[in-house]
Amino acid sequence: MPDFSISRETLPNDIELVKVSGFLDAHTFEQLEEALNELFSQGRYRIIVDLTNVDYISSAGAGVFIAALSETQEKGGQIVLLNPTKGVLDVFDLLGLTQIFSVVKDRQEAVAAF
């Protein structure tokens, strides 16, 4: 099982890039939740989540994005999902989330989404 990891990078225009790697399930979702909550506590609501290296997501993981979407929108920010794998997109499709989230293929497009 690939190790789960999260890294953070601040981009120009107050945008935060959060890179997630590994399986995002009931075992790991709290780590992502904590990372996003830390950004919120710092008043950071313009967030790109890079999902290139997330091969699997369950509803526990998807639920983190639902909560984060609500939080960012309330504060006038946005959460953009960058380059999700087909497996991850399939789950978002099943939950009807692909129409709700801003989903982009590359970093340039992600930055331009704000």
């Binding site: 075992h27 639902i66 909560a67 979407l69």
Partner: protein, 161 residues
């Protein structure tokens, strides 16, 4: 119809073991020659069912002898998963299908697993035995157009679920 491939896993009530359950699904689907197109969704459905047991039947409680039995069986025509626990009775089939639009609007992150299980599986049934066992059975039938026509190699047979 090919011989079914069967795997039985008994895991502790800890989320770190979800990965082993997902690996078990991958193994029976592949070896049983159930259409691989369905692999990700079947993996997700079983993961969600086991996660629900951890959350509801055992409430993530690590104390005491709490374990979950997962029996997986597949051939080229159907995939069946039986998830058994001995915790608090929880019938996921009795839970109303969540209104996803409302869920998202309210930023709620729970309750999506049952929705996914129902979306993915053809049959979902639950029973509680007098011995205190809760059993959730998930079944998915292969579409005739997606079946592997090469025929299956039985790796290990077993009693039908």
């Amino acid at each position: 119809m090919s011989e079914p491939v069967r795997r039985e896993l008994t895991i502790p009530n800890e989320t770190q073991y979800l990965a082993a359950v997902r690996e078990g699904v991958r193994e029976v689907v592949t070896l049983g020659r159930f259409p691989e197109k369905e692999l990700n969704k079947l993996t997700l459905a079983v993961d969600e069912a086991v996660t629900n047991v951890m959350e509801h039947a055992y409430e993530y409680d690590l104390e005491g002898e709490m374990h979950i039995q997962v029996v997986l069986e597949a051939n080229d025509t159907q995939f069946v998963a039986c998830i058994r626990d001995w915790g608090k009775a929880f019938d996921p089939t009795a839970v109303p299908t969540p209104d996803l639009t409302r869920h998202v609007a309210e930023g709620r992150r729970h309750g999506l697993g049952i929705f996914l299980i129902r979306q993915i599986m053809d049959e979902v049934s639950y029973r509680s035995t007098p011995e205190g066992c809760n059993e959730l059975r998930l079944l998915k039938r292969a579409k005739a157009s997606e079946r592997d026509v090469r025929g299956a190699v039985a790796v290990r047979g077993g009693r039908g679920l």
